[in-house]
Symmetry: C2
Subunit: 217 residues, 2 copies
């Protein structure tokens, strides 16, 4: 059994994904150790990211003091998850992740994983895009990275035997300073509350996906 | 075995998630039927969305004619995936999804799944936010929804025995009109190329997640 599987309590993809629901009321007595939280973040961070820049940053909120501070930048509607969760992982977008773009891809080349021609193509195509990008594009790019890693964290939490809830009902101005991060570098994206469900969550339905799908002629 | 599991070729979460890599070269001879594509989209759409508004729209590109049209709005760097994939699912954000907000949540109440008090709280908290939202916020909100459903589609593709690649290297002005969608309503987010890998993809490494994690004091 691979190292990764040993960490998982539930390796059943269909159950983890299709029986996932947003839990907003957790058992407040359940603690999750920081080692396990860090492991879950690392597992979630196997998600893809634009140019493998991993434009995400995680702030864990898992003490009463941290929760009190954190709630200053959270909408009241989301207090139940924050109060009862074992931990919240807030995911912020890093709009300066491309500063190390050259190092990241030079290393891939030095490790012999891509050709010089491919390295030049990658550096020639995307690095100029990032170096000349508008703040809006860098926020958009980082928002995508943070959302895909957030989706994996929701699934990884279930695979570790917990439930979770993603929320963006926050104060977008206050959040980054509240977390002690640099507002010039980081943008707020979403919080993921993690813990053991204390009650059966609301099972929402979905539109028929066919009504949201076109086939390009 | 649940209905969902029957569709899956690979229900091993750890393998699907941790052994996933971005494939850019597919076997061009492999076809994926539209029924199976539609099923994969429906399975991916079990993803969460802000207020369950499902602010995503899917356009499938799976014929030579559609690919030729689609490539007019794709960066050359991503032509290999487009040319060789069995299909591309382009995910666009729906910035008008909240127009049906009241209907969505009234139905949840009429189905007896939430109390009147909860309905009033939901409608009172978020509907005004959406009705007064800036275009930027609606784009941000839809981008998150499209990214989480995109992440699930990457995993669902592997669970169906395929591989996939997410890309946003596109022409952001041209894409929506090229897909025949209303640019006043939809915003481009990402394409997901799906097929059978024709060669072993590049295995990228990740930063140590501990270096990207803080614990709020």
């Amino acid at each position: 059994m691979s190292e990764a599987v040993k960490n998982l309590v539930n390796n059943d993809l269909a159950d983890v994904m299709f029986n996932r629901h947003s839990v907003r009321q957790f058992d407040p007595n359940v603690k999750i150790g920081r080692d396990e939280l860090q492991k879950m973040i690392a597992e979630a961070a196997t998600a893809p990211s634009a140019c493998n820049l991993q434009s995400w940053h995680f702030v864990v909120v898992d003490t009463p003091e941290a929760k009190a501070k954190f709630k200053q930048a959270v909408m009241k509607f989301n207090y139940p998850q924050v109060d009862s969760a074992s931990a919240i992982v807030f995911i912020a977008g890093d709009t300066q992740s491309h500063y190390v773009y050259r190092d990241v891809w030079n290393k891939v080349y030095e490790d012999g994983n891509i050709t010089k021609e491919r390295l030049d193509q990658i550096l020639g195509t995307f690095l100029p895009l990032y170096e000349n990008a508008t703040p809006d594009f860098l926020k958009f790019d980082a928002t995508i990275d943070c959302s895909v890693v957030g989706m994996q964290l929701l699934l990884v939490a279930r695979a570790h035997g917990y439930d979770a809830n993603a929320f963006s009902g926050i104060d977008f101005e206050k959040m980054i300073p509240t977390l002690g991060l640099d507002p010039k570098r980081y943008v707020p994206v979403m919080g993921i509350a993690i813990g053991k469900a204390a009650q059966e969550p609301l099972h929402t339905t979905r539109y028929d996906a066919k009504t949201q799908t076109d086939f390009l002629a």
